[in-house]
């Protein structure tokens, strides 16, 4: 089974939730340093191709990925489901988890904003402020996914 944590950029909210799933984040107090040290966190837009980013495997051997959905999660989920159906992939093989619902869509704009000269630092600060509000919800989402029984998808497109 593979878990795909989805958010607009695929490198912010989804990275936090996926890290909680993998136990990289233990759910301790929010720490800017911890968040900034997460793999792929705040990767520049130029380095995001749209491919799922592999964060690791959980204790049960399930793949954990993040996926950018560019504020179009509804259509992305539909396309992904449709594509896997075309090839007869069972839906349980692929768990799509919406992390976008916990955070402001402004994060994506700020992420693009960082590409302007001298705006990287300001963009990152504002993104961290926006993520801080949703931090524990994202952690809880990641932990919930880890606890989900295999073969029983809890998150649907």
């Amino acid at each position: 089974m593979n878990f795909f944590y989805c958010c607009g950029s695929g490198v912010h909210a989804s990275v936090i939730a996926a890290s909680a799933h993998l136990g990289i984040l233990k759910g301790e107090e929010y720490s800017k340093r911890n968040v900034l040290s997460l793999p792929f966190f705040d990767l520049p837009p130029s380095q995001i191709s749209g491919r799922p980013l592999f964060l690791g495997k959980d204790e049960e051997g399930n793949g954990v990925y993040t996926l950018p959905v560019m504020n179009k999660k509804k259509i992305c989920f539909k396309i992904i489901r449709g594509f896997s159906d075309l090839f007869g992939i069972p839906r349980e093989e692929m768990i799509l988890i919406d992390c976008e619902k916990y955070v402001s869509p402004l994060i994506n704009q700020l992420h693009i904003f960082r590409t302007l000269p001298g705006m990287k630092s300001l963009s990152r600060k504002l993104i961290l402020i926006l993520l801080k509000n949703a931090y524990f919800k994202l952690i809880s989402q990641g932990r919930k996914a880890r606890r989900a029984d295999s073969g029983r998808p809890f998150a649907k497109a």
């Binding site: 749209g50 491919r51 509804k74 896997s84 992939i89």
Partner: protein, 170 residues
């Protein structure tokens, strides 16, 4: 057998047209009439809620399955997302081909498509689309021919997965 997926913004015009040419429902040697184009299944009929749905158009003479899809403005991430997922899900890249038809779309098609599909002003949008289609028709024919050549060239090598629009000699 390959699943060939033609994709564009709305899945209503350019992808359907390319699929129609591929399936030989439309001629490759002349510009079709407006009636012939409008008779094509799904042409200028998609609603926004249908975006993201794979539409099966038919099988070509080699048994390849032809699909169209409207993927809205996911242009940049659509192909990497699906090829990435295919790798993870162990779907061989030789089993599908993604073809972006937007590079062959001209301004009248864009404007007409927007008027007809988004604003529902069909009486002006549809004739504009048809005008655009007839004007750029051979770009689509070239795109489809390139896709067919690409399949033949790469089929044995197992190197399919997406077709770069830049490869089309449009």
């Amino acid at each position: 057998m390959v699943k060939i997926i033609y994709h564009c913004f709305g899945g209503s015009h350019s992808s359907v047209l390319a699929a129609g040419i591929h399936l030989e429902l439309l001629p490759s040697n002349r510009v079709p009439s407006a009636r012939e184009i409008l008779d094509l299944a799904y042409f200028d009929t998609q609603q926004s809620f249908q975006h993201g749905q794979f539409q099966f158009m038919g099988k070509d003479k080699f048994g390849n399955e032809i699909y169209t899809i409207g993927r809205q403005s996911l242009g940049d991430i659509f192909e990497p997302m699906l090829t990435g997922l295919a790798e993870i899900l162990q779907i061989p890249s030789s089993e599908f081909l993604l073809v972006n038809t937007l590079p062959a779309v001209n301004f009248p098609m864009k404007l007409g498509g927007f008027l007809s599909r988004a604003l529902k002003v069909i009486w002006i949008g549809r004739p504009l689309v048809l005008l655009g289609v007839q004007h750029s028709y051979f770009k689509f024919v070239n795109l489809v021919n390139s896709v067919k050549e690409d399949i033949q060239d790469k089929d044995a090598a197992g190197e399919l997965s997406f077709f770069s629009p830049g490869d089309a000699r449009a």
